[in-house]
C-alpha cells in the first residue's frame, strides 16, 4: 500500500483516467507489481510449455500420430490404442509388475526408515550417532547408474564378492541379476539401500518434536523402552507417517525409471518391465508414439485418482492430509 506514495506517476496517471474505483482495475495492480510479474515469467513459461502444452500432445493417444502431419493433422482413431493395449498381454504384465514392485516397496522399504529412526533415536553417544548417520545417508546422493553398476559388480557370479562369500560355504554361484526369482529381491534391497537412511531425517525431526515430559512421565510409571516407543514415539510421528504414506501411494503407478532401467536386462523382463520402461521402449526406441502416449496417459490418470483418493482417506482418518 505505502508504495503509491512514491510512485506518483504510475497510479496517479491511472487514477486520472478514472480507474480509482474501490476494486481497483487490473492495470493498477499490473503496474504496481510490475517487477513481481516480470519475476514470474521464466518459471511460468516453463510450467506453461512443459506442463500444459504437453497436455495438448497427449491428444495423440487418440490419434494415429505421424511425425509429418503433426499432432493436429494426424487422423483421429478414438480409443483404438487403448483397445490394443488392454488386449495385449505385454501391457497387463507391465501393469502387474508396476503395482507389484510398488507393493513390495510399500511393505518392505516404507517401514525401513521408521525402524531405523526409532533405533537411531536410542543412541546416546553423539559422535557414533553422527558417524552412522553420515554413512547411511551416502547412497541417496549417488545416481542409479552408479548404484546399479555397483550392485551388478557385487553380485557378479564370477567376480562378485557376494558369490565369493557363498563359495566359501560351498554354495554354487547365484545369477542374481538374471534370475526372475532373485531380481525383485535385488530391487527391494537396493531401494532400502538407497533411501532408508535418508528417509530417517524427517522421522527423526518428528521424533525430536515430541514433548520429553511424556517420556519422563512414562518412566515414572515404570514403562519399558518398548512400551514408550509404542505408546509415545509412534503416536507422536503418526501424522508424518500418514503424509509420507499418501505420497508413496500416490506413486503406485510410477516406479523410478532410472532405478529399474539400470538394473534391468533381457533375461528378467517378465518381472522387471514396468510402465516407464515400456513407454521408453515402445515410444522412443520403436517409435510407436500413439501407443506409448496412451500408456502414459493411462498411468497419469490412475496416478491422479490414487493421490486424490488416498489424500481423502487420510483426511477422514483425521491426520490432516496434504491439502
Amino acid at each position: 500500500m505505502p508504495k503509491t506514495l512514491h510512485q506518483p506517476s504510475g497510479p496517479a496517471a491511472i487514477r486520472s483516467k478514472g480507474l480509482n474505483k474501490p476494486g481497483r482495475g487490473l492495470l493498477f495492480y499490473l503496474y504496481r507489481d510490475r517487477y513481481l510479474y516480470l519475476f514470474l515469467i521464466p518459471a511460468m513459461s516453463y510450467f506453461f510449455l512443459f506442463k500444459f502444452v504437453t497436455l495438448y500432445g497427449e491428444l495423440i493417444a487418440f490419434k494415429d500420430f505421424r511425425l509429418l502431419d503433426g499432432v493436429w493433422g494426424s487422423p483421429w482413431v478414438g480409443l483404438k490404442h487403448f483397445h490394443t493395449l488392454f488386449g495385449s498381454s505385454d501391457f497387463w504384465n507391465v501393469l502387474r509388475n508396476t503395482l507389484l514392485l510398488n507393493l513390495y516397496n510399500l511393505v518392505f522399504a516404507f517401514p525401513a526408515p521408521i525402524l531405523l529412526a526409532l533405533l537411531l533415536n536410542e543412541l546416546r553417544v553423539n559422535w557414533f550417532k553422527r558417524a552412522v548417520q553420515n554413512m547411511l545417508y551416502l547412497p541417496f546422493f549417488i545416481s542409479w547408474v552408479v548404484l546399479a553398476g555397483i550392485i551388478v559388480s557385487l553380485l557378479s557370479p564370477s567376480t562378485g564378492v557376494v558369490n565369493a562369500a557363498l563359495r566359501l560355504f560351498g554354495i554354487d554361484p547365484v545369477y542374481f541379476m538374471t534370475s526372475t526369482l532373485w531380481w525383485p529381491v535385488v530391487f527391494i534391497v537396493s531401494t532400502i539401500w538407497q533411501s532408508a537412511g535418508w528417509g530417517t531425517i524427517i522421522y527423526m525431526a518428528a521424533i525430536s518434536s515430541i514433548d520429553p515430559g511424556l517420556y519422563e512421565a512414562a518412566k515414572i510409571d515404570g514403562a519399558t523402552k518398548l512400551r514408550q516407543i509404542w505408546h509415545i514415539t509412534l503416536p507422536g510421528i503418526r501424522g508424518t507417517i500418514g503424509v509420507l504414506l499418501v505420497l508413496q501411494m500416490g506413486k503406485m503407478m510410477d516406479v523410478g525409471f532410472e532405478h529399474i532401467f539400470n538394473l534391468q536386462n533381457a533375461a528378467v523382463f517378465s518381472v522387471s518391465d514396468v510402465i516407464s520402461t515400456f513407454v521408453y521402449r515402445t515410444g522412443l526406441q520403436n517409435a510407436q508414439y500413439s501407443l506409448a502416449t496412451a500408456v502414459g496417459l493411462f498411468q497419469a490418470l490412475i496416478g491422479l485418482i490414487l493421490v486424490l483418493t488416498v489424500n481423502k482417506i487420510v483426511k477422514k482418518l483425521g491426520e490432516g492430509g496434504l491439502w
Binding site: 517487477y35 519475476f39 504437453t54 546422493f141 552408479v146 559388480s153 557385487l154 564370477s158 522412443l284 491422479l304
Partner: protein
Amino acid sequence: MVNRLKSMPLYLFLALCAFITVFPILNILAMSLSSSRAIISGEVVLWPVEITVQAYKQLFIDGQLLIALKNTVIITAVGTVLQMIATTLAAYTLSKRRLKGRQIFTFMVMFSMLFGTGLIPLFLLVKQLHLINTFWAIWLPGLVSAYNLFVMKSFFEGLPAELEESATIDGATDLTVFFKLTLPLSKPILAAISLFYAVALWNTYSNALYFISKSQLLPVTVKLYQMLQTPIDSLLAGGDSSQYIQPEGLKAAAIIITVLPILCVYPFLQKHFIKGVLLGSVKG
C-alpha cells in the same frame, strides 16, 4: 554402565547397518585399484590386491569418460544457475499475498505436481523446439521443481513483513527489496536449494538418455551406462566369463571416477541437504 552394556546390541546392529551401506562402494574402490588376476580369483574385498592404476590409466588414455565428465560439469554449473534464477524469482513473487492472480499461478504449479507429463508429448515438444542434441534439452524440461519452489516460497513467507514495509516507505521498489533485503536474508535456503538442483543435475540421466544421442554431448551418467552395458549383455549368455575380467576393473574405475566428485563434497552437501529437507518439511 549397566545401561551401556544393555544397549551394546543396538550399537553393534547400527554399526553393521552403516558398514553394509558403505561396503559396496569400498569394494568397488578396491576393485578399481586391483590387478586383473586378483579380480578374477575373487580375492578383492575391502583392500586393493596387487595395487595398480592400470584401469584409470586406460580410461584417461581413452578420454571418452573425461569428455563426458566435462559435459556434466557444464550441465551442472549452467543448469543450477538457470534453475535458481527461475525458481527464486517465482518463489519470491508467489510469496507476496498482495499479488493478483497468485492462486491461479499456485494452482498451475500444484497441478503439475499431480499430473505426470507423458514422455512422448515431452519428447515431441523438445523436438519441435529443436532442443534435441543440445544441453537445453536437459536444462529446460527440468527448469523448475515444484517441490523446491514451494519450499522456497514458504521460506520467503516466513520472513518478517515489517522489513519490506519499512523499506518501501523509504522508497524502495520491489527490485531493491528483493536484491538488497530478501536475498541476503535467504542464504541458507538458497544454498540448500541450489545444492538440491546441482546434485540432481550431476546425476542427470533420463533426459540425457531420451534427448541426447550424440556421443560427444553425453553426460557422464549415460556414458557410464553405455560402458557398463556391454559386458552385462555378454554375461547373459552364461558362457565363459573370464574374458570379461578386464572390463570388471575398468567398470569399477569408471564408477569411481563418476562418483568421486560427489564423495569429495559429500560432508558439505549433506549438511545443507538436511537443512533443506527440514525447512521443507516444516510446512508439510
